[in-house]
Symmetry: C2
Subunit: 158 residues, 2 copies
């Protein structure tokens, strides 16, 4: 199957210039603020977004240079298949984060709850609409009961 | 900023060979089954995924040939900026769906709740872990109170 080419629609400005120290999850970084700069040619697509308190950001984890199909979450101590983890060392390096949308000024979106590296290309923004997520019972496999390990550690910690 | 190149990790086999008639949301298609075929070189990444009842699929909406920064949801009747909608006619054509994981057999994942076209390249699979989603009050802007329009209609309807 051929490669798929994407064009960034914007770029993230965050406090995290290097990979080490980035919160592992947006859920663990509620108070950390950042800015999304949308490129001018995409400004029209922002109309009506200011009514949403939260948005879904798809971004490219540009600092990631390796891939590993087996992830080793340091807070768990056991290896897991990468598709059953949130490891950034995954094929295609796409991150998905739900963040709080604090303000929109022109092409700049102020957000809170940031687990992305500074300079990450933004691929898409979608509204966060919780009614569309599953309501039935959810089973979370090996992650069950492990949220504190996930949210209390940062990248680069071993 | 340079283009980003992605490699599909698999392909979707769904009942929807054409764009018209695809449910607008996975939430509206709970009973529709499909298969994800993961390419053999990525099989190792599936380890430990079978314990999860739901997964997040990132896929490429390969049937979409146009982009429009202004979306016109037919069930709403008003134009909206594309980033405040779920319109598939968005830059980069990446879809994100949370679906039920029914079974894994080798490289084939049986899923339920499918709003994707047959043949869509799969870019990533992540575990669905609801504890990581926002718990605070959520504001949903122009979509507020409109979920039935969103989930009851299908693509191609006007």
């Amino acid at each position: 199957m051929d490669a798929i080419k994407l064009r960034p629609i914007g770029v993230l400005h965050t406090p995290f210039a290097v990979r080490e120290g980035i919160p592992r999850q947006a859920a663990a970084a509620r108070q950390i603020s950042a800015t999304i700069e949308i490129f001018p040619e995409y400004t029209a697509g922002l109309a009506d977004l200011e009514g949403f308190s939260h948005i879904v950001i798809l971004f490219y984890m540009h600092l990631i240079e390796t891939e590993n199909l087996i992830a080793h979450p340091p807070w768990d101590g056991k290896p897991h298949g990468v598709f059953s983890t949130c490891s950034p060392f995954r094929p295609n390096h796409i991150g998905v984060s739900v963040v709080e949308l604090a303000k929109i000024e022109g092409t700049r979106l102020s957000i809170r709850g940031v687990d992305m590296a500074d300079g990450s290309p933004v691929l898409d923004i979608k509204p966060y609409f919780p009614d569309l997520y599953p309501r039935e019972e959810i089973k979370t496999g090996w992650m069950t009961g492990k949220i504190s390990g996930m949210t209390d550690s940062k990248t680069g910690e071993r």
